[in-house]
């Protein structure tokens, strides 16, 4: 608190100094302070996801704006906000018009996920996690220690642009970003390894985040018609101060400190050199080109042992104990634009993009499998196409386009795709009070398909089931998309807009996987300003996404051995086909107004926003034999469905009074209310220690509370003052 008060004091003392500058009218600005008093009930971390408010505490948020212009070409602008808080930002920009510009910046961004999470590990956030008990950790989560899942990014740097030697220019930028805190992501000391030898045990782990990313950018170029060209270089270095997480496995049934070593994201560096340029050609045309080459590298010492079903770790032998990652990328793009006649514009484009994975292929001997090695992934893309924009008559445009995308991947299941994309759009602007756009896109994706060769696992199973599996990111599909956009502005200061979007994907060759998905979006908005007395706005959006998916559950251990073929295979209690249809309905609406109760003296600003999401998942087992009984309850195709699937409702209301005592001095006060109610089947009834099934004797899972109970309500009172000089 004291540093913030000190900064606030310094800022306020700038006011009389700035007034003296202002008398010369070279320096203008504003100093402001707003006291915020929130009363937060519920999950304070969710309320503060990207904020820094303390419940039941008045927090003064100060801001400073300075604009200097010496009327001879030199200027600077300084902007500071949320001084002393985790959302603080400082930006200084300045220079000489037409000659050079500089910038210096510093900003912070918190990301709060869950506060007061719990764990039995004694030092959460550290790179070594252990607990004091001889065998199992404390099974009572009420006695566990607390910690926060939160991170804080700090970014600072600067740059300078030179344009003094026109038409040549140069830019240089550099900066650093640090990210510190604790995240949930790297979790799971997957159990099963160890004396218990039971598959599928899990522990949610707090991961230390100590990242530093440095970057440098340089660009020099020439820009004067008919030529433009720029050479650029970009360098980024990422460092992780915690390369490993050492975790004591909590599932061993004998005394001992069985430490697992988990690799965390490796430090890496990246650099890119590129040329981008264009040249004006006859017939109102331009040829554009971009050529870029980049390289990413990383290095990691590999973990050389792992617990696998016994208290003695199994050694792993590698052909090289250090993995060196290296990925080169080439990008070549050519675009020709042309407007040779008044009635047509055109564009031709071509792109070649290739990644070349030169990382180490390392042979691995883990004792239980034949020698095997990691597979390197890389791909090559070529895109080309043409667009034509026809001006048919006054205000009527017809745009037609064709594009082709080709990709060749080093990936066995779907190595190649060919996409043909056809697009047409009509736009009418022929009357002053309206604009109408109607667009349609049709895409056909063709996909080669093959059966992958397994590194680990049963190839025979793969040979049968993989014939039917298509992964949606690359599967063959037909896509249909419509868009309609109508804008109306019947009189001055009155605007309406209605928009509709529809996208549907049919995955025509898919038997197992996503078979189709579609999205419907409606958006309506309007605003009106009666400039003397008020202005008002309103909006409404509706968005519905539907996904249909077909899957097969099969059990190779059943007798007789199961056939995973969804068409010819058996249908029984452990081998069956099933489907899931998921729907997400999102809608949001809002209204707001600025009311000039006393013009130029008293303004009342009021607003309300409402966001709602309803999701559900509808399961169907395609054989009644699969509708078995668990925990004394028999499954039906109705009682397995989930109606609370990331459901939430968020409301925000505020009212603010802005009173201008003088043109320079303004007071504000107001009230805001924010409510967030979240309900989801995967977090409903949250427990920190879970047995296997409903009544299993042994612990199966340890959790820490990440994302649990995220609802909140907040009442916020605020008051402030701003002084312009």
């Amino acid at each position: 608190m004291r540093p913030r008060l000190l900064i606030l004091f310094v800022v306020l003392t700038l006011v009389p100094l700035s007034v003296s500058f202002a008398e010369e009218k070279n320096l203008t600005g504003e100093v402001s302070v707003t006291g915020v008093l929130p009363y937060i009930d519920g999950n304070k971390a969710t309320f503060n996801e990207y904020r820094d408010y303390k419940s039941n505490v008045i927090s003064p948020f100060a801001g400073l704006l300075l604009n200097y212009d010496n009327k001879k070409g030199y200027f600077f602008d300084f902007n500071a906000s949320d001084i002393g808080y985790q959302t603080q930002e400082y930006l200084l920009e300045g220079g000489k018009y037409g000659s050079f510009k500089y910038r210096l910046f510093y900003n912070e961004l918190p990301h709060n996920v869950t506060w007061d999470a719990r764990t039995f590990y004694t030092t959460p956030g550290d790179s070594t996690l252990t607990y004091p008990q001889a065998i199992f950790p404390n099974q009572d989560p009420n006695q566990w220690g607390g910690f926060d899942y939160k991170t804080l990014r700090k970014t600072y740097g600067g740059g300078v642009d030179f344009t003094v030697v026109k038409p040549f220019f140069a830019s240089f930028d550099g900066g650093r970003q640090t990210k510190e805190g604790t995240s949930y992501k790297q979790g799971g000391a997957e159990g099963g390894e160890g004396a218990r030898a039971t598959f599928g045990l899990a522990t949610e782990l707090p991961e230390p985040i100590n990242y530093t990313t440095d970057y440098l950018k340089a660009e020099i170029g020439y820009g004067k018609q008919p030529f433009f060209g720029a050479l650029s270089y970009y360098y980024q270095k990422f460092s992780n101060d915690d390369p490993y997480l050492f975790v004591r496995n909590p599932f061993f049934t004998v005394p001992g400190s069985f430490m697992e070593q988990i690799p965390l994201p490796p430090s890496n560096n990246y650099q890119q050199a590129a040329f981008a340029g264009n040249m004006k050609l006859p017939w109102n045309s331009k040829a554009n080109v971009k050529l870029a080459y980049s390289m990413a590298e990383s290095s990691k010492h590999l973990v050389t042992s792992i617990f696998e079903g016994s208290t003695t770790p199994v050694p792993i032998t590698y052909s090289d104990n250090t993995f060196n990652g290296k990925l080169d990328t080439q990008n070549y793009q050519f675009v020709l634009t042309s407007a040779p006649f008044r009635f047509v514009d055109g564009k031709l484009y071509y792109q070649y993009y290739k990644t070349n994975n030169k990382s180490d292929e390392i042979s691995i001997d883990d004792g239980s499998n034949p020698l095997w090695h990691n597979h390197l992934f890389e791909y090559e893309k070529q895109n080309y196409g043409a667009e034509l924009d026809w001006r048919l008559m006054k205000g009527l445009h017809l745009m037609t386009a064709y594009g082709h995308n080709y990709i060749d991947r080093k990936r066995e299941d779907i190595p190649k795709n060919n996409d043909d994309i056809y697009r047409a759009e009509v736009k009418f602007t022929g009357i002053d009070i309206a604009t109408l756009k109607v667009g349609y896109q049709y895409m056909v994706r063709a996909a080669d398909h093959d059966i992958p060769t397994l590194t680990l696992g049963t190839q025979q199973e793969a040979d049968i089931i993989e014939q039917f599996v298509r992964r949606y990111d690359a599967a063959a599909k037909n896509q249909y998309a419509w868009k309609v956009d109508l804008q109306l502005y019947p009189v001055e200061n009155l605007n309406f807009n209605i928009m509709y979007k529809y996208i549907r994907n049919d995955y025509k060759d898919t038997t197992l996987g996503i078979t189709n998905d579609k999205r419907n979006f409606w958006g309506v908005s309007g605003d009106y300003a009666w400039t003397k007395w008020f202005k008002t706005y309103g909006y409404f959006d509706w968005d519905q996404e539907d996904w249909e998916q077909e899957e097969r559950r099969y059990n190779p251990a059943s007798a007789p051995p199961s056939n995973p073929n969804p068409v010819a295979g058996p249908q029984n209690s452990t081998n069956f086909n099933w489907t899931v249809d998921q729907r997400d309905k999102n809608y949001d609406w809002g209204v707001g107004a600025d009311i000039y109760a006393i013009p130029k003296k008293l303004t009342v600003r009021v607003g309300y926003d409402y966001v709602r999401s309803n999701g559900n998942a509808d399961f169907t087992y395609l054989t009644s034999a699969a509708l078995t009984t668990s925990g004394g309850v028999t499954r039906t195709n109705e009682n397995m469905d989930i109606s609370n699937w990331d459901d939430y409702r968020k409301e925000c209301f505020f009212i603010k009074f802005i009173y201008a005592v003088t043109p320079a001095l303004t007071f504000t006060t107001g009230y805001a209310y924010e409510s967030y109610k979240y309900n989801d089947a995967q977090f409903d009834g949250y427990r920190y220690v879970m047995p296997a099934g409903a009544t299993g004797a042994a612990v199966n899972t340890y959790l820490t509370g990440a994302y649990a109970d995220s609802s909140y309500k907040a009442n916020i009172v605020f008051f402030g003052a701003a002084y312009k000089f």
Binding site: Y97, A230, G325, Q582
Partner: protein
């Protein structure tokens, strides 16, 4: 008969060509400059805002304030003054003003690839987003980001308001941090050669390269994430485990349905359904250097 048909068709084509090529003017070719003081007489508020903007400063090299003033953008105003005002004889629409903006700014680095951009293709012009009369907003925007962008991109407005989102509405990120609204070589006008390259600028820990890559992740982050906002945690397009099962259908648990029965409150809870489900064990889906089979399966 054939000759008459050919003749008529040619005539129709010629007429059409004539109509299409007929120059549609906005400013009167005979108009002359009248000076900014003449504009001030009727448009005092607009004049004040112009004078306080960078365009109104005569000491800025090349600025309208050093040349024709208001008429540098709006065109010679003599006809407009003679007619006592109105939209004829003066440039007031964004479309017709674009040429005047380009006359000064076409050599700017920021506009070098404007001709390639989606905004240009869709008939969006400079004055649709910028205004010399807008005071107090950087880059002379008519409204601050993202409000300005939401005016057309309503579906994006809806997405950024969802529970899992980048901090755009909180003012900690701007649309222009990722997109170049003036045109670029990237798809959707992003400021990088590929989606992943853009994401790695802030999320460098995901870059790898890793010993065990997850191909759809390495190829495109958008295979699993909805970058503007999602109703599902971690910006996912769909909820796991079904998201993961959309690709991974196999024996035992990958192909097993996880329903209401397997939630915390269900009769047979399973850690493949409750809480963070698949991610409780498969924690390194962005790539792994983990030991042996545990790394291959993204469990370490």
């Amino acid at each position: 008969m054939k000759k008459i048909t050919v003749f008529c068709s040619s005539l129709v084509l010629l007429v059409l060509l004539f109509l299409l090529l007929w120059p549609a003017g906005a400013a009167d070719q005979n108009a002359k400059f009248v000076g900014s003081d003449a504009c001030k007489n009727c448009h005092e508020d607009a004049f004040k805002s112009y004078v306080s903007s960078i365009h109104g400063k005569a000491y800025v090299p090349g600025s309208p304030g050093k040349r024709e003033g208001c008429e540098a953008c709006h065109g010679p105003g003599s006809v407009h003054v003679e007619k006592g005002g109105g939209k004829e004889g003066i440039i007031s629409s964004a479309k017709h003003m674009a040429a005047n903006c380009q006359a000064c700014h076409q050599d700017s680095k920021a506009l070098a690839f404007w001709n390639m951009g989606k905004h240009k293709t869709n008939g969006i012009y400079c004055a649709d987003c910028h205004s010399s009369h807008a005071v107090g907003i950087k880059k002379n925007l008519k409204a601050p980001e993202p409000v300005l962008c939401y005016g057309c991109h309503k579906d994006i407005r809806s997405q950024t308001g969802r529970q899992s989102h980048h901090p755009v509405n909180e003012g900690k990120m701007k649309c222009s941090d990722c997109h170049s609204s003036h045109g670029s070589f990237g798809k959707a006008m992003i400021r990088a050669d590929s989606t992943n390259e853009l994401c790695y600028k802030c999320h460098a820990e995901k870059r790898g390269p890793y010993m065990f890559e997850h191909p759809p992740v390495s190829e495109n982050c958008l295979n699993c994430h909805q970058v503007h906002g999602s109703s599902h945690n971690q910006l996912l397009i769909k909820k796991p485990p079904q998201l993961c099962q959309a690709c991974h259908d196999w024996s035992r648990h990958p192909g097993t349905p996880y329903t209401k029965f397997e939630t915390f409150k269900g009769p047979s809870p399973s850690n493949r359904m409750y809480a963070r489900n698949c991610s409780l064990c498969h924690t390194t889906v962005h790539g792994s250097n983990g030991p042996a089979g545990s790394g291959l399966r993204f469990v370490r």
